[in-house]
């Protein structure tokens, strides 16, 4: 029973996490894959404050959300200078740099991870209470996102994503929108990380690495980027389907590799057979203009004048 509850809690956290990632990537069109970093920042900030300073868990979580929001400035400032493929590669560099720092500091527990994080809720009904908290958060995140994208501000976000040049030309402030998107998305990710750490009472850099980034991308792409319910469907499907493997008694290493293969095949199948995801583009308020295949790199090549090798 505890195992089922844990799966349900992690699924709820991933629903919030993938919806928050979709806010940045799907709605904002900001190609950053460093979202798991803010999940990790939230978990580590809250865990370290609670473990090392004895701060009450609730206060530590609130501070951690603030830390995640502030640390997102690194990416939002980057997004003001670069975009597209370049932002993607820069976010990859930032993510790996943060992981290196976490793995080499004593205060974070190093590569072994931070242990003995105090729980947010204790007692016999701990898992059920956490389940209620996590799914309430997920519902709140979905509803707020739904309301936001249907508001005037949501239409402004879509306009910026579809044509930033025209948007700025009309006198609108794209910088403010990017900063808000990154800080809101990162705050939610930080909150999810803090809840994760306080539930499992352990956190390591493995949970904020490239695999988590690919998993989040997969959830959003499979579910349907730029839709309200797509990431929810993607997160639930991709958290529940791998659990089927637990019914086959396999060695953990084999099960992990098989899970990875299954996930990869699912993503590839969706990329080619249903690129719009499970929740199709019909539910979007306006059709997205597809970006040219030869995007930023071509512009850069032309701009740098490196025609000949």
């Amino acid at each position: 029973m505890n195992y089922v509850l844990s799966v349900a809690i992690v699924t709820g956290l991933y629903v919030s996490l993938s919806v928050s990632f979709n806010v940045v990537f799907g709605y904002g069109g900001l190609l950053s894959i460093a979202h798991p970093v803010f999940f990790g920042v939230g978990a580590y900030a809250s865990g370290i404050l609670a473990v090392r300073t004895g701060m009450p868990v609730v206060v530590a979580i609130v501070v951690a959300v603030g830390v995640a929001a502030v640390s997102s400035l690194a990416l939002s400032l980057a997004s003001l200078r670069i975009s597209g493929d370049y932002l993607l590669i820069a976010s990859l560099g930032l993510m790996l740099a943060v992981i290196e720092v976490v793995d080499n500091l004593e205060v974070t527990g190093g590569a072994g991870g931070l242990t003995a994080i105090p729980p947010l809720v204790s007692g016999p009904g701990r898992a059920l209470t956490m389940l209620a908290i996590v799914w309430s958060l997920a519902l709140l995140v979905v509803l707020v996102t739904r309301a936001a994208v249907r508001s005037d501000y949501g239409r402004a976000i879509a306009a910026m994503r579809d044509d930033e040049g025209a948007f700025v030309g009309l006198g609108r402030d794209a910088r403010a929108i990017k900063t808000v998107l990154f800080s809101v998305g990162s705050s939610i990710a930080g909150l999810c990380g803090a809840l994760y750490g306080h539930y499992f009472q352990y956190f390591s850099s493995e949970q904020m690495g490239l695999r988590t980034a690919v998993l989040l991308l997969t959830m959003v792409v499979v579910g349907g980027a730029g839709t309200v319910w797509g990431p929810v469907v993607g997160a639930v499907a991709l958290q529940v389907i791998p659990q089927l493997l637990t019914f086959i008694r396999l060695q953990p290493a084999v099960a992990s590799a098989l899970e990875g293969i299954a996930m990869s095949v699912i993503v590839l199948a969706f990329l080619f057979l249903r690129p719009a995801g499970i929740v199709s583009a019909r539910s979007r308020r306006r059709p997205r203009r597809s970006r040219p295949a030869l995007g930023e790199a071509q512009k850069a090549t032309a701009a740098s004048g490196e025609g000949a090798a």
Partner: protein, 299 residues
Amino acid sequence: MQYAQIAWSSFADAGHQVLLAVAFAFTLKVTKVWNFSQGGLLVASFYAMLVAKEAGLSTAGIVAAGLVCGLAFNAVVELVGFRALRRRASSGMTYFIFSLVVAQLVAYVLTLWFGTGGQRLDDKLISPSAEVLGVVVTRREVTAVVVAVVLLTALAAYLRHTKAGRAQLAVANNAWLAELYGLSAQAAYLRTMLIAAVLVTSGVFLMGSTISVTPDTGSALILLPVAATVVGGVGNIWGAAGAAVGLSLLNGFSALIFPSIWQGFILYIFLFLLILLVPHGVPAAVRQARLSLAGGAAR
């Protein structure tokens, strides 16, 4: 003399890095794809060579096995993956997800098959060496430098003096215009991927003799070619080669100042800052600075 030794060892170590960086930069220049599946190609060809070695094949047989695997891998990625994505005018993000997931899929399959333990192509840890002007030079290091120089010279000659090579450069500059002149962009993309496979497999052969490789190694080793491509300037394959040497030297000498555990951090934060500050590469930034200076002087 310590500095000379570090300089030579870092330079020789750059042999395989240069090949991986040029393969990545060349693919990006022609196909416009940040091809992270190169990480998958890297480990796939390594394990093909390992199987050939365990089957008792000669060095030529081992390299041939790696080449066959590498060429087949990149042909499939191009023909089945990139070509389909190109047909539907997919976004840069879709290419990124596809190439990253392919690399991860290969890593998972190889983990299932070979486990997570590190393997090497050469069981001998020490290579025969000689002292030249007080610097220890191993046979392995000389081989790495010679192979890199020969392959890059061959690539330069191919691009400059053959019709197929010039067609690839034309497609790299403007695929639409090249097709208008009767050149096949699809053929150019495929040739590019095959040439990249040869460069990567050669790099892996050099690298696999010196360091231990695991199925997960690909995703970690792809970062340096990415950094070199950015430093050298997107679209400038020789810039990427020079940057790979520079980064290798930086890596070697930074060990004198920073503990080795921070080497990864230095590389990644360098990549982040560099893209942020000079997204079009150091050569383009230098050119821009010269133009600004010249403009200032003229005024």
